[in-house]
Amino acid sequence: MTLFTTGSLWTMFHGLVLGGGVLFGFSAAMYCMWSVRADNHNDASARRRCTHLGRLTILIAAMLWVIVFIGTYVNYPAYRVTPPEGTTDLSAYPRALLRANPDTAWLHSFALEFKEHAGWIAAILMTGVAFVINRYHTALLTKPPVFNITAGFVLVGFVITAIVGLLGVFVNKVAPII
């Protein structure tokens, strides 16, 4: 038995490496925004943290784009392969495997269907955030309404990414791509 197949490696890279990494990135960005929110924009420490935050949000947005592209164009095609007529062992056909059992059908009809598109929303939102944080830098600290809505976008992006990631874990637990 092969320990790692090409499909499983792509799944791990998509979910564990990039998905896990981006959630760490979100945590760091949220902490950074919280810690810098009341600082004076002229403060050297605030300037340094805004620079870090800017780079971090670019990294988060880039990782989210790589995640959705791999998910859509590498993992999803392998997931949705239709089994040949008469196939009884569906383990190599994750979508068919999930749909064949009423207890797991929701993992396709709800989890995968939601995952398929919601991840793209997080990537779009975080690209907007990365633009705002890098364009405004410490000026963001002089504009609390802009700072607050940007922080809100980060929180929304984090929640969507976490939910999408969790649903991916459920799907992969029952019907992994092999």
Partner: protein, 110 residues
């Protein structure tokens, strides 16, 4: 007032508003395209056959987002907008977008 303070005071919030509202609009576009696809009103073309319709739906939504960003940025980048209205628009658009991708709601329109 030093040079940095002057540049901060002249930096309007319009570019931020444009980026954030456009992103929320992109999210809404994603939800709307998915919903219209599920109720059979609009079927996005498949751009990559192995991935199926999702390739077309996501590509269209991303295109809508980028166009919205360019248009809004050109209109707002030198203006100071009421961020209260920006927040309201963003919240409504994101909620609509996420709702559109939420499978249990598709049945309500089908």
């Amino acid at each position: 007032m030093n040079q940095q303070d002057r540049s901060l005071s002249t930096l309007t919030n319009g570019a931020a508003a444009a980026a954030l509202v456009a992103a929320a609009f992109g999210a809404c576009a994603m939800g709307l395209i998915v919903l219209l696809n599920e109720v059979g009103v609009f079927v996005a073309p498949t751009l990559y056959a192995p991935a199926g319709g999702v390739s077309g739906r996501t590509t269209i939504a991303v295109a809508v987002w980028l166009i919205a960003w360019v248009v809004l940025h050109r209109r707002w980048h030198d203006q100071d907008l009421n961020m209260r209205n920006v927040v309201m628009a963003a919240v409504v658009l994101i909620l609509l977008g996420v709702a559109g991708t939420f499978p249990p709601l598709w049945g309500l329109f089908g």
